[in-house]
């Protein structure tokens, strides 16, 4: 057989499998025309496929079979599939059959025997051989999490314990259901039925959040619907939040041992950033997207895992409504009603669904799917209430991103490509504001537009700085500053851009220009500091800026200028130290020492010997306390001279 021949056989085989068994013979007769051998190949393959049963379906198991049969060892007949045989008992529970399997463990259907009391439960076991510290820890977390959760839409924890050989297990409510997406598809639920189911899931997740639990793994296979009631399962990788909302063990950010289900993962999960309740809001957004369109937000043909990650972090999701007309396979009756009847009516039905999704539902889903956690719904409850408002026909709070924001996003993504667009871009938006102005719009709308414009200008400067284009950043910052001199953000942008451009001029050898820019940066920082005397961040900016200026003055041979800059920097640094008070950090103390030293050295150079020595001794004291040995050695030598 050649690869080409196999390819041919495979395609026929795939095609035959897609057809009902009784149609296959005819299908093969037609397609294999005169090639009897080809037909026999496919037929034997189909027969093998039927006979194969569970062949290879369970991963290779039980290495001990080999090792334990080593002649030097005692033979063992412990030969169940890395788990437990049917009929195995733990406590009052007897295993019936395995109903689920994960990388670390398995879930068994079991019956509880208690005199007359008989009840079916699901038992989650750690697999033998998988009882590493990490997995046991996770198991304990899940048990702790579940013990505190009692909600109609969360599978209940009934019991827990350890097997005789010390492996922990959890006894859970047995939910004999269907994953929520399949349930909707099979039952051909309407949009509003889907939304109601989804809101029930939201109530479970919100309840968990109120109990400081983030699920982190919301996806259809973890939501089983039985008797029309969805139940959230598998808190296996849930996180406990501390009351202030941060996850408790941020240090433990290593990727999960089982590969993460990327499809429902949020940007912050992909990037390994802190997880909050907003993470569940995002995954719920993906779930709703899927329930309403049958598709995933970033399209199906993404190829590699890296591409999926990139899409999650960078690419905007598709608009749910745009998918309805693009494809047939939406399993929603609104989309496929009377599909078999007349093709016209099918098109109409799909247009109707598209109309339903366009607008509020689109906005609701896209709001949950925003990349930045803080820009999503504030809570799952808010998300769910917005759907409630939609169902009742009231206005929803979800809005599309403002044009200004979207423009800024565009600039950020394409920073280098928008070289000439600074002026044009700002001009365009100015025109938009003006035209807003000329229409009879409320003052509030105008104010909103102004704010959007302001934010866009800021985004432009940030984008250029980020792209390493300080010249353009400076130009953009000047435009912004002249438009709104009172806006502290504009002031800061101008300061940062001046500083960055100054650095560029300095390294390009244009010292005069660099000096001018550094001075301009300093002026802006000092103005900011004046209005925020207790803001350590601003003070630090002034300090850095002053020091930079001093260094370049010194290089230019302007000793008095440098001395005055360094003296000013010393004052600010000491002010910073005072702000930190008893909480002063080693870093700040080192800054104070360095500032004293700089001033001391310059004073000496200027002939002010006593004052200079005094500063150097002060620096030496601090360095000694900090245990900064090289500095101590050097200063000691300097002072000895």
């Amino acid at each position: 057989m050649t690869p080409q021949r196999w390819e041919q056989i495979r395609q026929l085989f795939d095609g035959a499998l897609e057809r009902p068994a009784q149609d296959r013979a005819a299908y093969l007769r037609v397609l294999c025309a005169r090639d009897d051998e080809l037909r026999r190949e496919v037929e034997t393959l189909l027969r093998s496929s039927e006979q194969a049963g569970e062949f290879l379906e369970t991963p290779a198991a039980q290495l001990s079979q080999f090792v334990l049969r080593d002649p030097s060892r005692n033979p063992s007949h412990d030969d169940d599939a890395g788990g437990y045989p049917e009929g195995y008992r733990v406590g009052p529970y007897q295993f019936v059959r395995r109903i689920g399997r994960g990388g670390m463990g398995a879930v068994w259907l079991a019956t509880r025997f208690d005199q007359e009391y008989r009840k079916q439960v699901a038992i989650k076991m750690v697999k033998r051989g998988m009882d590493s510290q990490e997995i046991l820890r996770r198991f304990r977390t899940e048990r702790q999490v579940l013990a505190n959760l009692d909600h109609p839409n969360i599978a209940r924890l009934i019991d827990g314990g350890s097997t005789p050989d010390g492996l922990p297990y959890l006894v859970m409510e047995y939910v004999e259901g269907t994953p929520i997406d399949q349930y909707c598809e099979w039952r051909r639920c309407s949009i509003s039925e889907r939304l109601h189911l989804f809101r029930a899931v939201c109530s479970a997740v919100h309840y968990a959040h109120q109990n400081l639990v983030v699920h982190r793994d919301i996806k259809p296979s973890n939501i089983m619907v039985a008797d029309g009631i969805p139940k959230l399962l598998d808190f296996g990788i849930a996180k406990l939040l501390s009351p202030d909302g941060a996850t408790l063990d941020l240090a433990q950010t290593r990727p999960e041992m089982r590969p993460m289900t990327l499809d429902y993962a949020s940007p912050e999960q992909v990037r390994g950033e802190p997880i909050t309740t907003a993470t569940d809001v995002y995954s719920l957004g993906v779930l709703l997207f899927r329930l309403l369109t049958g598709k995933m937000p970033y399209g199906a043909k993404l190829g590699s895992q890296a591409a999926v990650q990139h899409a999650i972090c960078e690419q905007g999701p598709l608009r749910p409504s745009s998918l309805v007309l693009a494809d047939d396979s939406t399993g929603i009756p609104e989309a496929t009603q009377k599909m078999e009847a007349v093709s016209e009516s099918r098109d109409k039905a799909r247009k109707r669904l598209r109309k339903k999704l366009a607008g509020d539902l689109d906005n609701i889903i896209l709001m949950a799917l925003r990349k930045e956690p803080h820009r999503r719904y504030l809570s799952v409850e808010q998300f769910s209430e917005d759907i409630g408002r939609y169902l009742e026909g009231r206005p929803v709070i979800a809005r599309l991103d403002t044009p200004g924001y979207q423009f800024a996003k565009f600039v950020r993504r394409n920073a280098e490509g928008v070289a000439a667009a600074v002026v044009i871009g700002v001009a365009l938006i100015s025109i938009a504001v003006v035209s807003h102005d000329s229409e009879v719009v409320g003052a509030a709308a105008r104010q909103q537009a102004e704010l959007a414009l302001q934010r866009t200008r800021h985004e432009l400067v940030a984008a250029y700085l980020h792209a390493g284009e300080p010249g353009r950043a400076y130009a953009a910052a000047q435009v912004a500053y002249s438009a709104t001199p009172a806006d502290p953000l504009a002031r800061r942008d101008l300061a940062q851009a001046s500083q960055a451009l100054g650095d560029q001029r300095e390294s390009g050898g244009n010292r005069q220009e660099a000096l001018r820019l550094y001075k301009e940066a300093l002026t802006q920082y000092e103005a900011l500091a004046l209005t925020n005397p207790h803001d350590a961040g601003v003070q630090r900016d002034v300090m850095t800026s002053t020091n930079t200026l001093g260094a370049i003055q010194l290089e230019a041979g302007d000793v008095p200028g440098a001395l005055s800059s360094y003296t000013r920097a010393l004052q600010i640094t000491e002010g910073l130290a005072a702000l930190e008070g008893s909480q002063i950090t080693a870093a700040t103390r080192a800054e104070v020492a360095a500032a004293n030293r700089r001033v001391g050295e310059l004073l000496l150079r200027n002939g002010a010997k006593d004052a200079g020595l005094q500063k150097l001794r002060k620096a030496l004291d601090i360095y000694r306390q900090l245990g900064a040995n090289p500095e101590v050695a050097e200063l000691t030598r300097q002072l000895a001279q």
């Binding site: 085989f13 093998s48 496929s49 290779a60 290495l63 080999f66 590969p259 199906a300």
Partner: protein, 205 residues
Amino acid sequence: MDESTLGDSGEVTRLLGEIGRGQKQAVNDLLPLVYDELHRLARSYFRRERGEHTMQPTALVHEAYIRMVDQRAPLESHGHFMAVAATQMRRVLLDYARKHRAARRGGDDQKVLLEDTMVICEQRPVDMILLDVALEKLAVLDARQAQLVELRFFAGLSVEETAQVMGVSPATVKRSWSSARAFLHREMTGGSLDAAALGADSSAL
């Protein structure tokens, strides 16, 4: 963690990074490292006192990942690692099978020999040596399908996980999986066309 190879995690992570950038040589450098680690894990596991335990290759592969790869490595490294580890797990199992057959040779009868090359799966045992021969045939016809079998059967990845590692859709994995499984089953049960022509009983296992 006595004779741990944790010190290598930087090296392994670096190699995974190179694989990510498309440097094929890195795969060859990584293969022996992973093979050794899987072997070492299997041996050390059974040297501990819990001889009654069973150890699943899937678990070994995951443990190897945790021990060998810097846990801050990018997520895609996981996929590259799994692809390499699946191939090597297949080799580890095959080695065990061959070794034990050799150890049993002489004295014992053929039946025992056969049993010793089996990996027990949920429903029925799978003969590792026969599977290896069949897989080699499949690899000649379609290397990607052979890799898929390694990922699903030897590394124990789910359809979705396999799809991620191979960069294809789950639907493609499912389709490809069923023809690969049918092919292997046919090869291993003597049900291929050549054998059928000779009148072999295709239903025998």
